[in-house]
Amino acid sequence: MNDIFAVVGHPLSPDAIAAQVDEPGAGGVVIFSGVVRNETGGRPVKFLEYEAHAPMAEAKLREIGAAIRARWPGVRRVAMLHRIGRLEIGESSVLIAVSSAHRGEAFEACRYAIDTLKRTVPVWKKEHFEDGEVWVGLQGG
């Protein structure tokens, strides 16, 4: 299998994750990268901080991988990485790569992976502004 599911503290690289899902029988690789935006609701963001409950986060990432295997049998390899700690504008917070024999499956599985990750994986984002900081996910919180 060689699938990879991890919460990491280092910068994420599309080249590296593409190499991780590289497989002689795979013809297509789809990569999703979530990038730190410079503003939220019009308010300039200085930087972000991500926190995870890593053991459960990695378990949930593995569950997503298992669901992909069950639903898209043409998928060859899956890699899902979430970065935590301080991230600057433009850096990648999440990187998902799926390789498959046929590209349709890679597109569908990769989208399923990020959609499900956002719902189920225990990770929290704090936005740092010039004049304060806010945990994301609860309006007015």
Binding site: M56, V94, L117, K118, P122, V123, K125, L138
Partner: protein, 83 residues
């Protein structure tokens, strides 16, 4: 019954601590009971009840889930990973 509760992200910051050790009375062993016991000590968490995710081990559980002695209950704010 002893239960350790772990607080994450904004809950940890709001309560000023990472964990709360509870002794739940016999027969009052649900996640909801544990939440109430935590809020009794940290009323600043009360408004978050409708948004809170509960987990034991690596699995989400409902508020009526019954805890076992030694369980560790995880209190999560809404998750916001990904991007």
């Amino acid at each position: 019954m002893h239960v350790r509760v772990h607080l994450f992200a904004r809950y940890r910051e709001a309560a000023g601590r990472e964990q709360v050790d509870l002794e739940l009375p016999e027969g009052d062993d649900t996640v909801e009971a544990a939440w109430s016991a935590v809020v009794a000590r940290h009323p600043e968490l009360a408004p978050y009840r409708p948004f809170t995710l509960f987990a034991v081990g690596h699995d989400y559980v409902e508020a009526d889930h019954r805890l076992k002695p030694g369980d560790e209950l995880l209190l999560f704010p809404p998750v916001s990973g990904g991007l």
